[in-house]
C-alpha cells in the first residue's frame, strides 16, 4: 500500500518537474513546480516527517510559489523565450552531462541497502521532538537564521531603494 502511494506520488513529482522544464510559459512553469512541491510534501508524510510536511506546504507551496508568480506577472516575463541557440552544442552537451550525473548518483544510490528501513519509533520526528532538538542542541543555528532573514529583508529593501535613486525617483 505504501509502495503504491510512493509510486503515484513519485510519478506526479517527476511529471511536474518535466512539465516545468518543457513549458515555455513561466506562469505554467510555476504552477507545475507547485505540483512538484505538493508531491514532495506527500513523500514527507510517508517518511514520518509531519513537521516538514507542514513547513513544505506553507513555505514552498505557499510563500515561494506566490512570490514567483507575483514576480513573473509583475515583469510580464511569461512570454515564450527566444528558442534560437547561441551555441549549437550547448543543449546536447548539457543533456549528456546531466545523463552522466544521473547515472553516477543512481549507481551510488543502488549500492545502498535495497530493503526498507524498519521504523521502530514512528514518532521519532514528531513536532515536539523537533522543537526539543531545535531549542537545545541547534539553538545557535536557529538564532543565526533570524539574522539571515533580517539580512534578507534589509537586502531587498536596499535593492529597491538604490533602484529608485538610480532612476532619479
Amino acid at each position: 500500500m505504501e509502495l503504491i502511494i510512493f509510486l503515484i506520488t513519485a510519478a506526479v513529482a517527476i511529471t511536474g518537474a518535466v512539465a516545468m522544464l518543457l513549458s515555455p510559459n513561466a506562469i505554467h512553469s510555476a504552477i507545475f513546480l507547485l505540483i512538484n512541491f505538493v508531491a514532495i510534501s506527500v513523500l514527507y508524510v510517508l517518511l514520518y516527517a509531519p513537521f516538514l510536511f507542514a513547513i513544505q506546504l506553507i513555505v514552498y507551496a505557499g510563500a515561494i510559489i506566490v512570490l514567483f508568480l507575483f514576480v513573473v506577472m509583475l515583469l510580464g516575463a511569461e512570454r515564450a523565450e527566444d528558442t534560437r541557440e547561441r551555441f549549437a552544442w550547448q543543449r546536447p552537451l548539457g543533456l549528456t552531462l546531466a545523463a552522466i550525473l544521473l547515472g553516477l548518483i543512481g549507481y551510488i544510490a543502488l549500492r545502498g541497502p535495497t530493503s526498507g528501513a524498519t521504523v521502530a519509533d514512528q514518532q521519532f520526528a514528531a513536532p515536539e521532538r523537533i522543537a526539543e532538538a531545535l531549542f537545545t542542541t541547534y539553538l545557535l543555528p536557529f538564532e543565526i537564521t533570524a539574522f539571515l532573514l533580517l539580512a534578507a529583508i534589509v537586502g531587498v529593501v536596499v535593492l529597491h531603494m538604490s533602484n529608485h535613486a538610480g532612476s532619479g525617483g
Partner: protein, 100 residues
C-alpha cells in the same frame, strides 16, 4: 515499506531535472525554479536518511535549508526585478554586462 534507495533514486532524478533546467533554459525565473527543484531533491534525500537512521538531525538540516531557500528567493527575485528595470529582459543570454 518503501526501500530507502527508491527515495534516493527519485531524489537523484529530480536533481538531474533541475540541472537540465539550469543548463538548457534561459528565462532567469525558470532558472530560479530549477534551483528550487534541486534544493527540494536534496531535502528529500536528507529526510530519507533521517528516517533510515531514526535521527531527527536530518530534518533539522532540512528546516534550515528551507529558511535559507526562502531568503535566497526573496533576494534573488529582488535582484531580477532590479535587472529587469534597466535591461528590460529576463533572458540570461542578454544579461552579459556588469554595468547596467
Amino acid at each position: 515499506m518503501v526501500p530507502t534507495s527508491y527515495y534516493i533514486l527519485l531524489s537523484a532524478l529530480l536533481f538531474t531535472l533541475g540541472v537540465v533546467g539550469v543548463i538548457t533554459r534561459r528565462n532567469a525565473l525558470v532558472l530560479f525554479m530549477s534551483v528550487e527543484l534541486m534544493l527540494n531533491s536534496a531535502n528529500l534525500a536528507l529526510v530519507t536518511f533521517a528516517m533510515a537512521r531514526q535521527d531527527v538531525a536530518g530534518q533539522i538540516v532540512v528546516f534550515f535549508v528551507i529558511v535559507v531557500a526562502a531568503a535566497e528567493v526573496a533576494v534573488g527575485l529582488a535582484l531580477l526585478v532590479a535587472i529587469f528595470r534597466t535591461k528590460h529582459t529576463t533572458d540570461v543570454d542578454e544579461i552579459n554586462a556588469l554595468k547596467g
